[in-house]
């Protein structure tokens, strides 16, 4: 159950693996989508995008959270790395997912807010990106992209299907690049088309068969049968649409194909490369939804310029207030902020129509843990940038009794053009966050 099912009986393994690993929601699941009305609303003149990044070992809260609140707040030590973008982001404190506990496994719930991830009977729910993909996914070649860094085996990610099934992540920028800009070989294309054609002809067949059934139906039963016909026809139409993407030429390649970094010590370099790939994906409108899980749990002592890191990331995160470890963590955390600043800058520089890409791209950076040292899953460090909101503030909530983070998700969905009032345990939209 690692992948959603596909006609992969017809694909040769490399292709299948590739698609699976790409985390690209391929046609059938991609089409688990949208009410057409909502899709139309989202298609409007302004494309809206969303990127979610979860660093699952968090950042040291004392370095991250500003002590002052509101608009004129003084930047915290870490946030000084983002001083240039001060008005382009909002920092939150006192927010978390209600009932999401359990330490590390909570990263599975960063975008789902499903309660109690560490309990025996846990079932995850749909993640924010996949929920949005149901509605706006068909507007782009890839309904969404699920990415990861240092994720052992690609078996974890931030993206979960409506049935609560994990979508494996893509960790190779080269594969992502190929997927975005290069057509597959003839055989790949043939198989992909065959797969879509088969799905379509199955739908066509079941509709035809049902039409021929001779039944005595009452009014209500007839409505039910009509509903079936509509569903079948809708799916058929969506398969046609998916097939048509295969005929739409891919955007011209930009830049050189990236070279994958294989050394996990290069955690930061890998992260930067994923940010670059994300910017490329947005720039070419290949997708509008991206998630990236930065997995520090099995990351060895890192290596990046100007830093001296002696311990593995996970070990460091349990710093036990050791000054030595905190000093190393501060370097790592600041580097995270620097990379984020670089991403903001590049999104700012990329123009789309009148606006910058950053104006149209919401970037959520945060963690499932409020404090990795004690594994608490409350008071999460959350930074939210771009996307056309009035930023430049520290929205501080009660650090004891947290404000629901899913409210921010509702704001995200509404900004994406969805007519949605509730997501997971939300109680409304994010208080104090206004669109431009």
């Amino acid at each position: 159950m690692k992948t959603r099912s596909s006609w992969s009986a017809t694909m040769h393994p490399s292709r299948r693996q590739f698609l699976r690993a790409a985390g690209v929601f391929l046609p059938l699941p991609a089409l688990t989508s949208a009410l057409p009305r909502q899709a139309r609303a989202a298609r409007g003149p302004t494309p809206r995008r969303f990127l979610a990044i979860c660093n699952n070992l968090s950042v040291v809260p004392t370095g991250f959270f500003p002590s002052e609140t509101g608009r004129g707040y003084a930047l915290s030590p870490y946030l000084q790395e983002l001083a240039a973008h001060r008005d382009a982001f909002t920092v939150f404190s006192g927010v978390s997912h209600p009932d999401v506990d359990g330490g590390h496994p909570a990263d599975n719930c960063f975008l789902t807010a499903a309660p109690h991830p560490a309990s025996g009977g846990f079932r995850n729910r749909v993640s924010l990106d996949q929920f949005a993909a149901q509605h706006i996914g068909q507007l782009t070649r890839f309904p969404s992209l699920t990415l990861g860094v240092n994720q052992d085996g690609g078996q974890r990610s931030l993206s979960w299907t409506p049935g609560g099934v994990l979508i494996p992540c893509e960790q190779r920028p080269s594969a992502l690049y190929a997927r975005m800009f290069l057509r597959g070989d003839a055989e790949d294309i043939r198989q992909q088309l065959q797969r879509l054609d088969l799905g379509r002809s199955v739908m066509d067949a079941v509709a035809e068969q049902a039409k021929g059934l001779d039944r005595k139906l009452g009014v209500r039963d007839k409505e039910k049968l009509d509903q079936y016909f509509t569903a079948v026809r809708d799916l058929e139409a969506r398969l046609v649409k998916a097939r048509s993407w295969e005929d739409v030429p891919r955007p011209p390649a930009r830049g050189k194909p990236p070279i994958d970094i294989t050394n996990n010590k290069q955690f930061m370099a890998k992260t930067k490369l994923m940010y670059d790939m994300t910017r490329l994906a947005f720039q070419t409108d290949s997708t509008r939804l991206v998630t990236i899980m930065l997995d520090g749990v099995s990351t060895p002592p890192m290596d990046f310029e100007g830093a001296e890191i002696k311990d593995a990331y996970h070990n460091l995160s349990h710093h036990g207030h050791s000054e030595d470890k905190l000093a190393q963590l501060a370097q790592i955390d600041r580097q995270h902020m620097k990379l984020l600043g670089g991403l903001f800058t590049s999104l700012q520089a990329a123009k789309e129509g009148e606006e910058s890409l950053l104006d149209r791209t919401m970037v959520l950076f945060g963690s499932n843990m409020g404090d990795a040292n004690s594994h608490v899953t409350t008071n999460l460090p959350i930074l939210f940038a771009g996307g056309g909101f009035k930023h430049g503030q520290h929205l501080a909530f009660d650090r004891e009794h947290n404000y629901p983070l899913p409210n921010l998700f509702v704001s995200v969905l509404q900004r994406l053009g969805l007519n949605i009032e509730k997501f997971a345990s939300s109680t409304g939209t994010m208080r104090g966050l206004e669109m431009v």
Partner: protein, 948 residues
């Protein structure tokens, strides 16, 4: 008929008129505007005044007719309606239906119109203009409410003078007839139930049965089903959209791929391999940190080597190898890995070297035993000394999970690691890639805090099971796996897909099939597949259709295997597979077989039922009863029990909330308690079914099912000579126990609370509706829920008292709250309590430590008051007395259960016209004191079940 006893009457919504306005919701209020049914057609004179003012019109004629009550101008309409209704049910119905409606009119005018007329009509119910237009569902519903109010003797409310009983009875008879006639006429035309698709439980079971693969996990691939009348069985709520279709398509493909992947080659199948996995060779187990690891916080939850009943300091210090290995098989068998804690990340011991190579059946044997660890010198007494090991003092419960990345757990079962080393065996289905995780479920589970804060009264953390002379532990030695077992099921799926054609596997889940006669083979295979998948014999047309589809697909260049699989996918997405096929009127044998199996197995009919249906035997004589007994006696009836309870009692939500860590440290993180609590009602209801126990067991019983954990939770001791362990067994309840019936089981009390507090309103409404059959109106909009105060200053009852002081609120709350009040003596997990718990340290520090190892940090606040009174005024002082009052009307408890079963079995609620049938079901089961099995057998034999 218990006229004034609110609890003992028909299910209904009873609300005082005039207090209705704030509680109105679509479908619940009277909505009088919709019932204004003046019909100009009935006014031959076409009088302008009358048309423009129906109410005045009615008034006038009432005056004119001077109490004869039958207005001549309207008479034809009344009669028309009656004649129409009566004609629809012509035969078999009592002739009373033809009686004139004067009795209705007379009664309404004399007793109702004072309040229920005109613009100021109470509850906006204007009976002056409400015609007897029963074809209008809303008018029908309103008259049913009128009927129920009068029948219950609720009108007029308060101290007003009630109509004489004889008059009321005569009115009720007169009103019942047209109501029944109309309802039955509707049913005759459309059926009681709306055509429905399979829900996702049923779809999963269907694929499992079609492919003979009980391990298939399909349910979670499909979107959650809509719910109506509490169940996922009602056509109106079971919608289909392109999302659903695309998931069906995916699920069908997924199932076939899994079948191919799981298929065993004959060579594999000859002798299932037996492999022993030693705990010492598992990376996740045999981690013996040399020093205190900061992850393990003072190393109190390190794993440690055990040899027999002794420690191995050398191995722990890594001076000796972790295992002697194959060189010394005798010693190797004694080697174990010990734990004093349960699983809590990141310490998640499992036999990870074993990964099920393919989905299928396996036999697991696990060797483990309990141990005792002495205290470590020089540190706090509750630190274990990992080298000071001796024999255990008691058996330890172990839960066995199958685990797939990323930490997807399926509970396989539980066993007890005895004082003497012994093996436990499991016959299970595993999914490909699953590994086995044993979890010592009684032990503490948490990440001990790095800095163990000290207070005047001692540390804030220690092992809650620790004693001055040590603490319990468990040693796992090995897991032996036999399998995958190649029984006939292991190849049944492959046979169904490709028959006897030679199959060449390409990779994990692809297949190439060799055929010399593609068209002929396709036809044979597809015919067999459709026959297996469809729940009635496929028509020649259908078979031809699907065969043609396969041929066309092959003609377009698709290889044989993929073409037939695409065809199978089409079959599994086709209307006849997804929808239950029932036509209005009496069900034919095939529809009956399907309805029966989906009722009692939640699955498609098996070969025997199909055989009976094919010979048209099922509808004859008492065959349906015989088959019902057979289905109930089959282990698959557990599918019914679980599916029924998942919805009736919300058991699917039992893990939905978790206990507050501060207020309920004794429940927090206790998965074993949750899992045990879930099993209790399932086993209890299965026992009710098996032994035909009276329906009153819903609220009262002298036994329950419990294991050690639950018995401890309930504070009940097992009978002498019985030692409780991880398994739930039938246990007598002490005579003075407050427990008994589903009513007071932990799972029920948990799903009716959140993790922090209980509310008598929420619990009361839930119990009233589901267990007692007393519908409760939804809360009025705009009134905030009462949030219990967890600081301990007020009780929820204090807060409610203010709310109930408002007569508008009181009118509903006198019905909602009693059950909730009676159950106030049970906390959020059904533990008995005398006082509420509140945040804030107690005056005297607690000496108790939670499952998470932390000292209790709540204090006992105000006392619990579980007194109350039923809506009819009868008082009770606690849950036992409340139960006694309920038991005075066993028939109502049974009636409610039948109503719930009818929705589950037929996909339609019990409507007015169905009530006589329900009463006759109850009559037939009366001799067994409404035994559950008797009720089911009578229900299956009723018109409700035998017609659409």
């Amino acid at each position: 008929m218990s006229s004034r006893r609110g609890w003992g009457t028909h299910p209904m919504t009873r609300t005082r008129p005039g207090q209705r306005a704030i509680c109105r919701r679509p479908g619940h209020g009277h909505g009088s505007r919709n019932f204004s049914t003046f019909d100009p057609k009935c006014d031959p004179s076409g009088a302008e005044g009358a048309r423009s003012s129906p109410r005045r019109h009615y008034k006038e004629k009432t005056v004119r007719s001077g109490g004869t009550l039958l207005d001549m101008r309207c008479a034809p309409l009344w009669l028309r309606l009656f004649v129409l209704a009566a004609a629809c049910v012509a035969a078999g119905q009592p002739s009373r239906a033809a009686e004139p409606p004067s009795r209705i009119r007379a009664f309404v005018e004399e007793h109702c119109l004072d309040c229920h007329e005109g613009d100021t009509a109470k509850a906006k119910l204007d009976l002056g203009t409400l015609g007897l237009h029963l074809g209008d569902p809303k008018a029908f519903e309103t008259w049913v409410k009128v009927y129920d109010r009068v029948r219950a003797g609720e009108m007029p409310p308060g101290k007003g003078r009630r109509p004489p009983r004889a008059q009321a009875d005569s009115f009720l008879v007169a009103l019942a007839d047209p109501l029944i006639a109309t309802d039955l006429a509707r049913q005759a035309e459309q059926g009681r139930a709306t055509r429905r698709r399979l829900n996702r439980y049923e779809y999963e079971n269907a694929l499992r049965d079609v492919f003979n693969a009980p391990w298939l996990q399909i349910k979670d691939l499909l979107p959650e089903d809509g719910e109506a009348h509490r169940f996922n069985k009602v056509g109106e709520a079971l919608d289909v959209s392109h999302v659903q279709m695309s998931q069906y398509l995916s699920a069908a493909e997924f199932a076939m791929k899994e079948i191919i992947a799981a298929e065993l080659d004959p060579i594999d199948g000859a002798k299932p391999p037996v492999t022993r996995y030693y705990a010492r060779e598992q990376r996740s187990m045999a981690r013996f940190p040399r020093a205190e690891s900061e992850w393990h916080s003072g190393s109190i939850r390190n794993a440690f080597p055990v040899l027999g009943f002794e420690g191995q300091p050398d191995v722990r210090a890594r001076k000796s190898p972790v295992t002697v290995g194959a060189a010394d098989p005798v010693k190797r068998d004694l080697e174990g890995v010990g734990f004093v804690h349960g699983t809590y990340e990141p310490v998640e011991p499992k036999f990870e070297k074993f990964k099920a190579p393919r989905s299928g059946r396996y036999k697991l044997t696990i060797m483990a035993h309990s141990i005792w660890l002495g205290p470590r010198e020089g540190v706090d007494w509750w630190h274990p000394d990992f080298d000071k090991i001796s024999k255990g003092r008691r058996a330890e419960p172990i839960t066995l999970y199958a685990e797939r990345p990323p930490t997807l757990l399926r509970r396989l079962g539980a066993f007890d690691a005895g004082v003497e080393p012994q093996v436990a065996e499991f016959d299970v289905y595993l999914l490909e890639g699953e590994t086995i995780r044993p979890d010592a479920s009684r032990f503490f589970r948490s990440r001990p805090p790095r800095s163990n804060r000290k207070r005047p009264h001692g540390s804030e953390f220690h092992n809650p099971l620790g004693q001055r002379d040590g603490q319990p532990g468990v040693s796992f030695r090995w897991l032996q796996v036999e399998g995958p077992i190649a029984d006939d099921k292991a190849i049944a799926g492959r046979k169904l897909l490709f028959g006897d054609l030679p199959v060449k596997k390409l990779g994990r889940d692809r297949a190439e099939v060799v055929t010399t006669d593609p068209a002929g083979d396709a036809q044979k295979l597809i015919t067999a597949f459709v026959q297996q998948a469809y729940r009635r014999p496929p028509s020649e047309k259908d078979l031809k259709f699907f065969t043609n589809f396969a041929n066309k697909t092959m003609a377009s260049g698709v290889p044989f295997a993929e073409a037939v699989m695409a065809t199978y996918a089409a079959v599994l997405c086709s209307e006849p597979f997804i929808y239950l096929d029932e036509e209005p009127g009496e069900l034919d044998d095939w529809a009956l077989a399907s309805r029966l199996s989906h009722f009692l197995w939640n699955s498609p009919p098996d070969a025997i039922l199909r055989g009976k249906a094919g010979r048209k035997e099922l509808s004859r004589g008492d065959e349906l009863r015989v088959q019902s007994q057979r289905l109930l006696d089959d282990p698959r009836s557990r599918r019914f029990v679980d599916a029924f309870l998942d919805y009736w009692l919300d058991l699917r939500k039992v893990g939905g909330t978790s206990p507050d860590a501060v207020l309920y440290p004794d429940y927090n993180l206790d998965d074993h308690l949750v899992e045990s609590a879930l099993q209790e009602p399932q086993l209890f209801f299965a026992e009710m079914l098996r032994k035909d126990l009276p329906a009153s067991h819903v609220v009262a019983s002298d036994f329950t099912f419990a294991n050690e954990r639950l018995a401890r939770h309930y504070g009940i001791a097992p009978p002498r000579g019985i030692t409780l362990g991880s398994q739930l067994v039938r246990l007598p309840l002490p005579a003075n126990s407050q427990r008994g019936g589903l009513l007071t089981q932990a799972a029920v009390l948990k799903v009716t609370a959140n993790g922090t507090t209980t509310s008598p309103v929420i619990r009361g409404a839930w119990i009233s509706e589901r267990l007692l059959g007393m519908p409760v109106p939804p809360p009025p909009p705009g009134v905030p829920a009462i949030e219990p105060d967890i600081r301990g200053a007020h009780t929820i009852r204090d807060q409610l008292a203010k709310h109930r002081a408002d007569p508008l609120c009181a009118s509903c709350h006198i019905k909602i709250d009693p059950a909730g009040f009676a159950l106030e003596s049970f906390d959020i997990f059904g533990g008995l309590r005398k006082t509420y718990r509140a945040m804030g340290d107690p005056d005297v520090p607690s000496e108790q430590f939670g499952v998470d190892g932390l000292r209790y940090e709540f204090h006992s606040a105000l006392p619990v008051d579980s007194t109350g009174q039923l809506p009819d005024g009868r008082p009770f002082k606690d849950v036992t007395m409340f139960r006694t009052l309920l038991l005075r009307n066993e028939r109502q408890i049974a009636r409610n259960l039948v109503n719930q079963l009818i929705v589950f079995a037929t996909g339609a609620p019990v409507t007015f016209g169905d009530r006589p049938a329900v009463e006759s079901i109850l009559d037939r089961a009366r001799n067994s004191r409404y035994g559950v099995r008797s009720l089911i057998l009578a229900a299956v034999d009723s018109r409700l079940f035998r017609t659409k």
